[in-house]
């Protein structure tokens, strides 16, 4: 019985004529004396004939129409997102390479972004000190121009000045030679005159 089972492992090859000549000899010898195995091999040969004779299926008449409709939808879908359709058309390796590049770029931006923010914060902190030291007197001067404890007239730009001294201007127009005198003599906010 065991021999029958071990022989049965090569039945397919025997039926398909795909056994070594030596193996074929021993199988032939066994089949000649074992009616069960002989019958099984006969059925196997018959089975192959039956399987081959099974009717061949054909697609339905509307198969092509359905496929064409699906393909049209597919094309529409691809055209709706042209970038992605191009992306899909790329070979797989290129797609992965592109995705990897994008990820790397994103990672680099994140890292650089972090460093940049830190540097910016530092710079801002530093500049804040400078800015306040520069503008603090100006704010004071805007509130009370008389209380000048800082030689602002030398560093303050012209644009920050308030009303120019019209008297001084008139004086300058009429007596251009005495401009220097008038500026030094004039009262009120002295800062204004220095710019003219």
């Amino acid at each position: 019985m065991n021999t029958c089972e071990s022989f049965s492992e090569s039945f397919s090859e025997y039926v398909e004529n795909d056994v070594h000549p030596e193996q074929r000899k021993s199988l032939d010898a066994h089949l000649a004396q074992c009616p069960n195995c002989h019958a099984a091999v006969a059925r196997l040969q018959n089975l192959r004939t039956h399987m081959r004779a099974l009717p061949r299926m054909k697609t339905s008449p509307d198969f092509d129409t359905l496929l064409r409709a699906s393909l049209m939808l597919e094309r529409k879908r691809a055209h709706a997102i042209p970038f992605f359709s191009e992306f899909v058309r790329m070979p797989r390796a290129a797609t992965y390479a592109f995705a990897g590049f994008v990820l790397l770029l994103a990672a680099a931006m994140l890292i650089r972004g972090g460093q940049g923010a830190e540097a910016f914060a530092k710079r801002a902190q530093h500049e804040e000190l400078n800015v306040s030291s520069f503008y603090q007197p100006a704010t004071n001067s805007s509130t009370s121009s008389e209380k000048i404890f800082f030689p602002l007239d030398k560093i303050r730009p012209a644009s920050l000045h308030t009303q120019p001294d019209l008297n001084a201007m008139n004086e300058r127009e009429t007596r251009p030679d005495s401009v220097k005198e008038s500026t030094t003599n004039s009262t009120g906010p002295q800062l204004k005159t220095t710019t003219f």
Partner: protein, 201 residues
């Protein structure tokens, strides 16, 4: 005119056709469909034993070929590639169907034919077996095989593909394919004993 245009396509190898299609020739794709639609349907139908589902699977196979045309490289035979796609989709469909059945059994409390496991003895051996019934009997027994045995025996005995190609399609060593085919055949010859011996007479 049409014949003159079609003739070159009919003579072109599958691999050249898909290459032409990759270059944008849609007629090459049409030729691929023409060449493979029936044989793929035959394979999938014998696997699923349902014409409607089989046709859906073949439609999906061609859609996948269209969509993933650039995934094919000449390293493999085109037929191997397309059979692999169809086989994978057919197996997915089978799993989906099983899930559906499980669901329907739990909700309907119904019992299906397969639960009764009708033996061959239930059929009258004296019955005259016409070809349609023969086909039905064989198909029924093929469907009773587990998917891994079913797939190889269909590819080998129905589609008549080489062991080498089958091993590439299902990505299993040739030795395993041969032993699976043998076991599937042995099982079928036992289950279809009556039919196979009747034919002999």
């Amino acid at each position: 005119m049409e014949d003159r245009e079609r003739k070159p396509y009919a003579q072109v190898s599958d691999e050249d056709l898909i290459e032409r299609f990759q270059q944008g020739d849609s007629q090459a794709y049409d030729q691929i469909v023409r060449r493979y639609k029936d044989q793929l349907l035959n394979f999938v139908f014998r696997f699923l034993a349902n014409a409607e589902e089989a046709e859906d699977v073949v439609q999906e196979t061609f859609l996948r070929v269209y969509r993933n045309r650039f995934a094919y490289t000449r390293v493999a035979k085109f037929s191997t590639w397309i059979y692999t796609i169809a086989g994978n989709l057919a197996r997915t469909e089978l799993r989906r169907r099983k899930r559906r059945r499980l669901f329907s059994i739990s909700t309907d409390m119904g019992l299906e034919d397969r639960d009764f496991e009708i033996s061959d003895d239930a059929f009258n051996p004296e019955l005259h077996v016409d070809s349609a019934l023969q086909e039905e009997l064989i198909q029924r027994e093929i469907s009773k095989l587990s998917p891994k045995f079913r797939e190889v025996i269909i590819l080998r005995d129905v589609q008549e593909l080489s062991y080498e190609e089958i091993s590439k399609i299902i990505r299993v060593p040739i030795g395993t394919v041969k032993s699976r085919v043998n076991r599937a055949r042995l099982r079928l010859q036992v289950r279809l004993k009556t039919l196979l011996e009747q034919r002999k007479k």
